[in-house]
Symmetry: C2
Subunit: 201 residues, 2 copies
């Protein structure tokens, strides 16, 4: 089935923005790469910002379906599913020579300080991801795979934030090594804490 | 003492690039903000890329002097010094409404996939920072403040990467909360591990 023009522009947008950032991606380039005539853009989008927001929404649909293939696979334990997801993520990241990392992370870095519109949209995307991770860690605690010494929400926050920074360092080193170290620290250790932690947050 | 034109341009560059990113910072804007005539730029810099690289070098000089005021203050234990540094960092970050985070992190996110020149320069900056953190953690182990169960290099890598991601999330939430959680996890727990960890990396 031939893709409709709007979806095609959004997909090209995801690809180009992931690599070059939002500010550095021109509408003309997107249209050219998609093979779509110039006049069409404002038929589908009110502005470049509107396009950017719709790119994030479009990315989210595919992204959350994709992670669910791993995180929702009840044949495996919660932590095994999370490991499988990050392993598949790293295979894809490496295949692109570590040139693009996490769209949420890179757009946050670029735009959260510049635009309230993007900041709010990215916060929404992160929150959705956090809720999914929180549920996964809660499931791991319920089945006894993870001790119940850290709140699932805290584990989710810690995991997500550390992964975001680790992706940046993989990008700079063009290597899996930072992620390997993080996963070792997280899975071998933080997920096995037997003593309750005292947090003030 | 009046600053020389080159230093002035570099300082304005650090400020503008920290907030807007490299691609989104125009040379004309930098010159205008610095109140320097247009013709001067190519007297000091070969190209915009050359300017960007010199901005990183210029930032590094001040940055490493600044962190040393904390990390080198032998009146306090190594972990106390690190806490003091991150607390001061967060005060500054908050004062700017969380709009700019870590110059190394944001430029890495933006440029590491686009430019080998910037990727190599940022890797160099991260490596210098990692060596400083590694020495700090080694000092903490030598004085018994941190158990010697994790290699200082691994602690440094883990700390730095997690902080980079946590800064992104503080930016998106416009809040200290992600950093508070990270510090609690790191200082209350990872720095107190009594059992050796088995890493394969």
């Amino acid at each position: 089935m031939k893709k409709d023009t709007r979806s095609l522009l959004l997909e090209v947008g995801v690809e180009m923005i992931s690599i070059n950032g939002f500010n550095n991606t021109g509408i003309a380039e997107v249209l050219k790469a998609a093979g779509v005539p110039k006049g069409s853009f404002y038929h589908y989008f009110d502005s470049k910002d509107d396009f950017g927001i719709q790119v994030i929404d479009h990315f989210c649909v595919g992204y959350f379906e994709w992670i669910e293939q791993f995180l929702g696979d009840k044949d495996y334990t919660p932590l095994t599913r999370l490991r499988a997801l990050i392993q598949e993520y790293m295979v894809r990241f490496k295949a692109k020579n570590y040139a693009c990392g996490c769209l949420f992370g890179s757009l946050s870095q670029e735009l959260a300080g510049q635009s309230e519109l993007f900041r709010a949209k990215l916060q929404e995307a992160f929150e959705k991801l956090l809720l999914r991770l929180e549920a996964l860690f809660a499931e791991g605690q319920a089945c006894g795979e993870i001790p119940s010494t850290i709140r699932p929400r805290d584990l989710a926050e810690f995991y997500l934030n550390a992964v975001e920074g680790t992706i940046i360092r993989c990008k700079v080193l063009k290597s899996d090594a930072p992620m390997d170290l993080f996963l070792a620290m997280f899975f071998e250790h933080l997920c096995k804490i037997q003593q309750p932690l005292k947090f003030n947050v």
